[in-house]
Amino acid sequence: MRGQVLIGVAVLIFVITLLLLVTLPKRTIGPTVDIENYTIAQLEVEQILRNAAEEAAYSTANTLEAILTTPTENPQDLASSLKEYYAEQFNVMFTDKAGAYAALRGVLCKLDTLDVEVSEGNNYVYISSIYAVATCDNGVMAFINTAAHVELEFKDLGAFGGVKAAVNLTSDQQQIQLITYAAALYNVTNGVTYGFPIMGSFNPAESVWYFNITGLHYIQVAVPPEYCMMATPTYYIAIVATSVGEGAATVIIAQPTGNICGT
């Protein structure tokens, strides 16, 4: 009787061992590659921030009706609207991407800091710097620090009006050589905004690619005669310029104060 119990216990141990071993997850022998794993995780989050910054610029420019429907005489209002609207778009983009990333890697990241600065020139405003920090529940922290400088002027091209923007994008003080850009015209009449593309399209996949070794990019677009002839312009020119995967981006909104062609 005692022997049977012993055999029973042994068989039980045998069966439990088998079950445990079969259900245990597979493991690998050897050291873990912590440094490389962390670097990849950190770079992935940094790329999410960079992509969010760039796509938020396109998204902002593509839906400028939101802030142009009520045209304002005061450029400072336009500047603060642009700043707020871009920050909103950045948040939407980041949340969307972080959600997809969490589903893939099981790592939840959140946007800790977002500082957007807008600068003004003569008849134009633009996003001049973006600083964003993200932290994740696996301890990864990533940030982007990018800036833009824009000089814009209106040109009289005879039948057409012209807009020439000298754009300089930097990421961590490094000048960006490869950019994508697009431009559109938004006309506001009776509180209704109508926009149409005049160069490329406000979509990173359909925009214009521009490489310049100096990092200075001249974006030149034409304004159709029916608009450039306006003595009291009701239209805005919106230009987006972004890096490709480096997190630098700007949205320029320009409004001439008078006729810019036909002289």
Binding site: L18, L21, A100, A205
Partner: protein, 131 residues
């Protein structure tokens, strides 16, 4: 008679216990997978280098958005020695596999790494190396 039965039981118990250990050893060997960390680190470092230099965007998206396998192949050929096989697969998060390029790849000895990009519809770049 009683002594023989006890002996038999003891023998049987010993056999079962030894068998348990033998099977456990065998199963543990199955559970643990021998990994080639040299290849894993190499694959991770290639992806890190690509991410730092922006090459990964050319590999995953290209100008057209559907990747640039020729560029990727040239980039890999310049980094991976001839005795190492590779398999590079770019996967779109919405459309599935965008493209895959392979050279002397042996899945049995492969190790690798993946990099996730979230531009547009998102990409997973998977680089596997083998001896």
């Amino acid at each position: 008679m009683k002594g023989q039965a006890a002996l038999f039981e003891a023998a049987l118990l010993t056999v079962v216990i030894i068998l348990t250990f033998v099977v456990a050893q065998f199963l543990f060997k199955v559970q643990y997978v021998q990994s080639d960390y040299g290849l894993k680190i190499d694959a991770e470092r290639i992806l890190i280098h690509w991410a730092n230099t922006g090459v990964i965007y050319a590999v995953a998206y290209g100008v057209t958005g559907s990747g640039d396998p020729q560029y990727a192949e040239a980039a890999l050929e310049s980094l991976v020695p001839p005795n190492i096989g590779y398999n590079l697969t770019v996967i779109s998060l919405t459309k599935g596999v965008v493209y895959s390029i392979t050279r002397n790849f042996n899945p049995a000895t492969a190790e690798g790494a993946t990099f996730i990009l979230m531009r547009g519809d998102g990409r997973i770049v998977s680089l596997q190396l083998s001896r």
